[in-house]
Each structure stands twice: as C-alpha cells, then as structure tokens.
Symmetry: C2
Subunit: 331 residues, 2 copies
Amino acid sequence: MKRPTIHDVAAAAGVSRGTVSRLLNGDKYVSPAARVAIERAISETGYVVNRAARSLVTQRTGSVVMVLSEPHEKLFEDPNYSTLIRVAIRMLAERDLSLVMMLAGNEGDRERVVRYVRGGHADGVLLVSTHAGDPLLDALKDGPPAVSCGPVIGRETVIPYAAADDRLGARQMTEYFVRLGRKRIAMITGPMDTPGGIQRLEGFADVLGRRATKRLIAHGDWTQASGERAMKELLERTPDIDAVFVASDLMAAGALAALRAAGRRVPDDVAVGGFDDSSVAVSTHPPLTTIRQPLAETAKETVRLLLALIDGAEHVEPVVLPTELIIRESA
Amino acid sequence: MKRPTIHDVAAAAGVSRGTVSRLLNGDKYVSPAARVAIERAISETGYVVNRAARSLVTQRTGSVVMVLSEPHEKLFEDPNYSTLIRVAIRMLAERDLSLVMMLAGNEGDRERVVRYVRGGHADGVLLVSTHAGDPLLDALKDGPPAVSCGPVIGRETVIPYAAADDRLGARQMTEYFVRLGRKRIAMITGPMDTPGGIQRLEGFADVLGRRATKRLIAHGDWTQASGERAMKELLERTPDIDAVFVASDLMAAGALAALRAAGRRVPDDVAVGGFDDSSVAVSTHPPLTTIRQPLAETAKETVRLLLALIDGAEHVEPVVLPTELIIRESA
DNA sequence: CATCTTTCTGTGAACGTGCACAGTAAAGCC
DNA sequence: GGCTTTACTGTGCACGTTCACAGAAAGATG
C-alpha cells in the first residue's frame, strides 16, 4: 500500500497536478469547483505532501535546528531550555516548520552541526547558550539566518538575539538590599565568560559603585555546589556581610546551605537574593526572594526574530525584556 | 555559488555518480584509486549529501521524532526530559539520524503529529510520557516503529519501552522505613493514570500489605503544591504518622513545607522519602532520602530499542532497570 | 584458448514535488 | 468584431540522489 502522491489526488479530483499544487501552496487561481473536489480527494486519499520532494525543488527544508552549546550535563539543571524548546516547537509548528535538535558541546559535535547547516539541511539556526568565542559562530556565518537566545558576546560576528535584561535585574535586587538598609552586600556571580555572569555583576556594580569591592565578590559556575563553595569563601573572607546577591537560584540554594552550616540565620543575619525564579526558588527554606526573567517572552521573541529573518528581513534589532523582583522570605 | 552536488564530486574525481554514491553508502566494489580521488574531491568541494534527494528515493527520512505528550507546563519541572533529549540526540547522531521534536498536548497538536508521522516524515517515533488511553497510540499503529520512554499502560496496543523499576524503588523505600522501625507509614502518590503513579503505589503495598490502608494514602499530581496539599490532608486524617513515602522529590519538597508548617521535625517526628533523586532532593532542608532512577540508562535503552526496530527487528522486549536507595538526612 | 568468476565502472530511470510556460475560455472594453 | 484583460488549467522539466542493470577488465579455471 503506497502512500498517495499528488498525482493520485489530482486523478481522484479530476484535475491536474498543477492545480492541486496551486491549492496546496495557497496560490490564487483555483476555481471553487476544483477547490472542493481537491479537498475531498485529499481527505479521501489521506494525502500529505512529501516534504523531501518539495524540499528538493524549493531548496527549503521546512526545519529549523536548535543548537545546544552547553558542554555536557549542564542541560540537566536548567529549566529554561524546556521553556524555550516548548515555545519554539509551538511557534514553528504554526508555520509548518519542524524543530530539530543538535548538540555542540565538543569539537566533533560542532563539526557535525556545521556540516548539517552548511549542507543546507536547515532554514534557520537557533543558538542556545553559545559561549563567547565559539568557533561555531564563524563557521555558520554565511549560511541560513541564525539567532541566539541570550546575547552572544565578544565576537565581531554579531548575531541577533532576544534576552532578559540581566543588568536591570541585578540592579533591582541590589537596590532592594540597599532599601532594606543592608550595609555589607556581597555577590556570587556566574562564570565570567557568559553574558549572565558578566551582566549581572555589572548591574550589581551599577548600584554599589566603589562599594562593590573585590572582597565582596565570589564566582560560581551556576551549579549548586559552586554556590555553596563561593558562600563559604565569602564568609571566611568577609564575615560581616549582611546580604548576598546570588546570580542564580540554584547557586543560591547552595549558598543557603553554607549559611546554615555557618549558623547564620536567613534573612535575619544575612539576606539572600537569587535570580531566575526557577522552581528551586520555592523549594528552598526559606523560599527565595529572586528576579523573575520573562522566560516564555524571551523564547517567543527569539523565535520571532528568526522567523523574520527567514522571511527575508535584512536586519533585525536585538530585543531586551525587563525583569521583575519577586519578594519571598529570604530577603 | 551553488552547493556542490554528487555530479560535481564525480567530475572532480574523474569518475561517475554511481561510484561516488557507492562510496558514500559504504558499498564494496570501489577501487582504492577511485576511493582516494573521490575522498579528495569531497573535501575539496566541501560536498555534503542532499538529504532531501536521498530521502526521495530511499523512502527514509533520516530522522526520528520525539513526541512530548505532557499537557502543558509540566515539561518545565522535570529534568528527566533533558537527559532523555540529550542521550537521544547523541545516540541518533551516531547513526546520522536527527531528532525532531513535536508536542502532543492537545487535540490539534496530536493531529499534526499523526499527519507528520503517517506522511512518512520520520523513520521512528519516540514517545514520552504518553498517558493511558492516548488516541495517538492507535493512530500511530501501522506507521514506522515506535517506542516509549516509560511504560504505556491500559492499551491493547502494546508498545515497547524502557523504564526504571518503579515498583522495586517503592519497595526499597518502604522496606527502609520498616527497617528504621517506623510504624505508621503513609504515602503520597502521583496521578493514578500514570505508570509512575500506579507502580510506586503497588511497591508500597507490596511491603505493607493490609497495613497500607486508604487513610494512609493521598494523591498528588507531581507538582510541589500538590505534595504540600496531600501532606496537610494526611496530617489531618492521621495525625500520628511517623513516615511518609512521597512518589516524587518535587512533591516531597511540598510535603516538607507542610510538615514544617505543622511543627513536625524531619526526620525525628516524621521520616520523609522522595523519588527520582532529582536536583531538588539536595536543595531541600533537610536533604531528601530518595530513590535514584537510572535516567541516562533508561534513555539509552529506549533509543536502543527504537534503533533495533528501525533496523528491522520484528519484536523487542521491554527493558526494566533497577533503582537505588539514596540515603540522606530526611529519613 | 574459451569460459567463468570477481571486481569494478558508467548509465538511465525513478522518487514526488514546484514552477515557468503555454494555452483556453470568458468577460470587459473601445 | 477585434483586442486586451482576467481567471483558470495542464504539461514538461528540474531538483539530487539511489538503485538495477549492463558491461568491461582482469584473473582463475577447465
């Protein structure tokens, strides 16, 4: 039992392939009579276009590839990806584009991605958590349109992106600490080769100016363990801190553990602020005061940018979305 | 500047298309001389096969579709998917298969999936968290091979799967409580239309027998909020419980909050056991004693089953993998 | 030497579509 | 009535590959 082709539909409807094709591709110039006949024939035969054949002649693939650049197990911890994936699938589906996923954590994977994309297997590229200086960026330069979810820094090849305003978020939290009357405000940052790492520190420094000394800053790598380690480090270095802004909720959970181990009460002795408003923020004790990023919005904007480029837009502007302070019990 | 085709490679190597094609598809019968000439030509021209064209003649697509059946925001909370996605991408990539993602949360999405798959756009289907009685299952019956990550229950259309041994895990935790000398052991289950919901309760009942009365069992829906609600319910109904086995870590985090609110100490007054060993298990206070599922292994086995079927295996047996008790501080 | 295998090569058709083009019939216009 | 415009339809070709087949060259076997 072979799958019905456009020929079969045409035959069943008593018209030619051309007419069916026109109807399928939204062309005008299809008579009402032909239209109903074809539509009936399609549902009777259960016809669905052969994308491969279409792709062959249109030079389009009908798919967009999402490239995940995290080295390895990082993906397990971050719920952001899930949102992005979900939003992307849904928005692309509306345009009859499908989402294919690729990894680009190591050299071999990256090579595969480049071959795939340059081989013309995707109409667009959705970069996720691509690090500064990623060779992928150059390799993808004159291929199909590419956008990034979150800024890509430190490269002259600028690629469009949508992102939450990390710097604003960091300012909001730091200002809140100041309003609470906290005097010795420390920070645990993310890795300094990521946009989130850099910009959240910038926002912190925006508010505190020269009061943001090196002694008050420790670095983590987004993991819970690193948050715990950084907090311990801060407590040894500067025991009298009364507030700490942690650049992610997960690291903040680690920081809470370190504070508890050191016998500090939260928020009485030390106020703790997180970032992301992820699910861990409400499962910690006490629940985290944090910065909510408009995840779904960011994802939507990212995809919107890509679709615009696929549709032929010459240039699109980056989109930066505002964050929001969520007050719970940790500060 | 057009993309090089197999013709260009053939011309550059001084052979015919056929020979190049044979080399590409691993056929024997290619002379050493031709081999090196072609290989040079390929790297010089930067040729990469056009999958659409190949697909057209081979009737294979070179892609596998992962179908996510969660209704909507559930995907955000569960890290299991990330592991599965990652493992699947990697294993499929080795076979030069790409992974495309689709949603099947509502009727419209489901219809799209069916059209996609029956339209011959995928060589295999990877079902994720498909609920009992999902109409998708019937619709996909005589299409390409399909497997599920986690069992699919309550349908006569049996589809192959790999999964952790939920029932064993539940037994391990419950037996541990018994060993600890706990007398009034309660349980918070998952939704009873999911395999995890059913089988974890079965394991619990395996150990306790008739001591597992209805008064000691409450139901949640995997969310943290539902865990909190169920715990409150249990405390009202049976105030003297001294242990509770919660069917997921996230719900356990909710249960901890309810216990704290009720002034019970964990583990002194009430021992708490979770399930999954997810990242929340270590971010709660106290850290959760829980059951570790071999996530990556399960994912691997699932994909392996699918690949076997794609390779023409007539029938494959379900794979069930053992769980492990992880002892932390909550019990 | 004739014949048969083995190893290798090139050729033509087919896969199912979209698109350019040619063509037809009817309607509108002067 | 001739001419243009509008609405619609069918046909041939091209897209880039694989596969079946025919055939050539070289060696093995009788």
